[in-house]
């Protein structure tokens, strides 16, 4: 296909999906420069095998931003990292895209670094130029732009919430021979990164979902589906963005999960939430139809709370449930008629600071269907703490009232705590 025709297609694609909130800052020169420079990148030897659909998502999109010298960042990065092509001679045995990531990582690490917990995060490429450090989300943004500028087909992926610890995570993925490999700029290479690295105790942080950012608006996203309705309903802010696709299937172990929905409910959509920082956070949505909502590609061996979004908040519409490995569901409805004693060692699965501390006061609660019902509190006199008259089959939460914030729901089976 002639290049001019492809450039017209590229212009159309960018305009059709241009972020509405950036229209007032539209800069025609940068827009056209971006088209030209992206085609330069597409001609790099490692990029020529990409088809237009891959190119338009993985090379073409770029932040329309200039540096302090009024130079478009795409142009600056293209020059700054032009040495990569020569350096490839040293890595003849390796796939060239993997080698480029290796070379770029080394160069990036001299200038930038990942740092969690900082209150100031780079919000754009100018921000990176001055702050030089950022969290995983910021790093994935920077890495994506550097690599796209030199024709490496790269995307950003993320999990909105871990399934069994608090927090979320971002990383990049690069297309090599038709397969996406995750990696993190300055830290890891494609083929090396374990997003869910298992620690030496065998504990593994699980991704609840894996989404890949796109430039194209996803017509199947909640935002777009809702917008098409004659009477759209209020949806959570987390779903205002429609530029991502669900790529969980094939990356993490998934099953479909269908929940019953009371036909009398007026809501059009239901949500599945995972626990996050003592609250429930949505990771998936589904349309209610005929008294049910079917959720696709849900991570198995995770506890979900079915919910609806009403009055700007999530309300549970059922008990938490474990989606088991075989796709069956175990509902965690506490049985207040079958009571037992529990002996607990910790309040969260993360580190030593989550162990029971002698002298601290602890509150044990159970999810009763609508909220955390307090079952009792006591002060620890040993390195374990026991509570009597605890309902079987419940989802429990232990809080240290004396200190700390890290808590996580757990079930109690055969004398052991299983954190979810």
């Amino acid at each position: 296909m002639p290049e001019d025709h492809l450039k017209k297609k590229a212009v159309l694609f960018l305009i059709e999906n241009y972020p509405l909130d950036e229209l007032d800052q539209f800069d025609k020169k940068i827009f056209l420069d971006n088209i030209e420079l992206s085609f330069v990148a597409w001609k790099k030897p490692w990029a020529t095998s990409l088809n237009f659909d891959q190119f338009k998502e993985l090379i073409l999109p770029f932040a329309m931003e200039k540096d302090a010298d009024n130079v478009f960042w795409r142009e600056r990065f293209l020059k700054e990292f032009s040495f990569v092509e020569d350096s490839l001679d040293f890595y003849r045995e390796e796939n060239s895209i993997r080698s480029i990531c290796r070379i770029v990582n080394i160069a990036m690490a001299r200038k930038y670094k990942i740092e969690f917990g900082s209150s100031i995060q780079p919000k754009n490429l100018m921000g990176w130029d001055s702050i030089r450090k950022g969290d995983c989300q910021s790093m994935s943004f920077l890495t994506l732009h550097i690599l796209r500028s030199i024709g490496v087909p790269v995307a950003e992926e993320f999990t909105p919430h871990w399934a069994n610890v608090n927090g979320r995570h971002y990383w990049n993925s690069v297309l090599i021979d038709g397969r996406y490999y995750p990696f993190i700029g300055t830290e890891s290479l494609p083929g090396d990164l374990k997003v869910e690295l298992v620690d030496f105790t065998g504990f593994c942080q699980k991704r609840s979902k894996v989404f890949r950012r796109t430039y194209e608006r996803n017509k199947q996203s909640l935002f777009e589906v809702n917008a098409q309705l004659a009477q759209p309903e209020r949806i959570p802010r987390a779903y205002f963005d429609s530029k991502y696709i669900d790529v969980s299937n094939g990356i993490i172990p998934v099953k479909d999960l269908t929940i019953d929905v009371n036909v009398d409910r007026s809501n059009l959509f239901s949500y599945l939430c995972v626990s996050s920082h003592k609250n429930w956070a949505p990771v998936s949505w589904a349309k209610n139809a005929n008294g049910a909502a079917r959720f696709s590609d849900m991570r198995s061996e995770v506890v979900y709370l079915p919910a609806e979004f009403k009055n700007s908040a999530f309300s549970p519409i059922g008990f938490p449930m474990i989606l088991q490995k075989d796709g069956s569901v175990k509902t965690l409805a506490p049985n207040f008629k079958a009571l037992r004693s529990v002996t607990l060692l910790r309040k969260y699965p993360y580190d030593e600071t989550n162990l029971i501390k002698i002298g601290d006061s602890y509150l044990l609660s159970c999810w009763d269907g609508s909220g955390w019902k307090e079952l009792g509190s006591k002060t620890a006199t040993e390195k374990v703490i026991s509570f009597d008259n605890i309902p079987e089959n419940g989802l429990l939460l232990l809080q240290d009232l004396s200190r700390g914030k890290q808590e996580r729901p757990f079930t109690y089976t055969d004398g052991a705590q299983y954190f979810w």
Binding site: G191, K194, G202, I252, V384
Partner: protein, 361 residues
């Protein structure tokens, strides 16, 4: 050898199970096999051992390198047992010899342990060894050959000084006749202290493995590890290690209180075992698991490792487990695959009956 094993059907998903009598590539009869075929495999197979004896375990799995550091370059503890106390002049020559290394780098062979930092110049190791791993269950009054060595790493170049409890020969680990003794005694038993005997009192409850001393150790007599085997120690201020111990129905607990003017240990584990293979007994206790320093390269990318071990199993029911992580398995190799045809874990009866020598430091 007659063996019978059975299979937990519900756990077998996308797993090839080699049933009774099948021969693996090496010609040995397999008791149980889990062949890993995909990412996120998480499965277990039950098997039965009819008679006490030695069995071969092979595990081919993905193990990632960290900043590799040999154990002896970090602070580490070595435990040596001559269970029958035959004082053999070799170590590993008899089936009752056992050695275990516990290092701050996180690589610890078949030992459950906890570290607890106690400020800038002090920390504690608390270790737990099952009787299964030690190969015998003692009774009060039993005397085992025993010694221990502590490698002090002060961040100097080269191999660092090391201290022993009893032996005074740097190569004592090759000669169990140089070991001291561990005497298993009942709870609250009065004993006359002897230099070459470490008294290990019985406790009715397992200590909580958290790096802290608790009541279970109350009747233990403390011993110092203070014989300089090599290198220069600069007195008590350089390094002091005080050891206490106890034994329970489950196993042996050893607690080491370490004061060191210069604490240096590997900042990260020397490896990450991302595909995990292990064996549990009827009670669910781990009787064998993969650990880093056992694993050798299995061709292809450096992360492809294979472990070949010979272990003693008592007659009984066991479960073989294998869990693969998110990537690099036969359905999607991330980098160069291993050269071996087999990926997973298997237990088999050995054709030869001579046990391999225990791992040496």
């Amino acid at each position: 050898m007659t063996v019978r094993f059975f299979l937990n059907i519900s756990l077998v998903v996308s797993t090839m199970i080699c049933l009774w009598g099948c021969n693996s590539g090496n010609g040995r009869d397999s008791l149980a096999v889990i062949e890993c075929t995909k990412n996120y495999l998480d499965t277990a197979v039950s098997f039965r051992v009819e008679t006490d004896g030695y069995y071969d375990v092979q595990c081919s799995a993905e193990i990632l390198d960290k900043d590799f550091k040999p154990e002896w370059q970090g602070e580490c503890l070595g435990l040596y047992f001559d269970v029958n106390n035959d004082k053999d002049r070799t170590f590993g020559g008899q089936q009752d010899d056992r050695s275990f290394n516990i290092s701050m780098s996180g690589d610890s062979s078949r030992v459950k342990y906890r570290f607890l930092t106690k400020g800038k110049n002090a920390y504690a190791f608390e270790c737990f060894l099952t009787w299964q791993n030690l190969g015998s269950f003692p009774k009060p009054g039993d005397l085992w050959g025993f010694d221990m060595v502590f490698a002090d790493n002060d961040g100097r170049s080269g191999r660092e000084p090391s201290l022993s409890w009893h032996a005074d020969d740097v190569e004592f680990w090759m000669n169990s006749s140089l070991f001291g003794n561990m005497k298993f005694i009942g709870p609250a038993t009065l004993v006359a202290e002897m230099d070459d005997v470490m008294y290990c009192p019985r406790s009715n409850t397992d200590p909580i493995l958290d790096g802290m001393l608790d009541k279970s150790y109350d009747y233990s007599l403390q011993k110092s590890i203070n014989r300089v085997l090599k290198g220069n120690m600069e007195g008590d201020s350089d390094c002091q290690v005080i050891v206490t111990s106890c034994w329970t129905e489950s196993g042996l607990f050893i607690y080491c209180d370490v004061k060191d003017d210069s604490l240096v240990f590997s900042p990260t584990p020397i490896c990450n075992i991302v595909d995990r293979g292990w064996i549990t007994d009827e009670t669910g206790d781990i009787v064998w698991e993969v650990f880093c320093s056992q694993a050798t390269h299995a061709d292809g990318a450096s992360r492809n490792r294979v472990v070949n071990d010979r272990i003693k199993l008592a007659a009984g029911n066991y479960q073989l487990h294998f869990v693969s992580d998110e990537s690099h398995s036969p359905d999607s190799w991330d980098v160069e695959p291993p050269g071996l045809g087999f990926y997973g874990i298997k237990v088999s009866s050995p054709k030869d009956v001579v046990p391999r020598k225990s791992r040496l430091p």
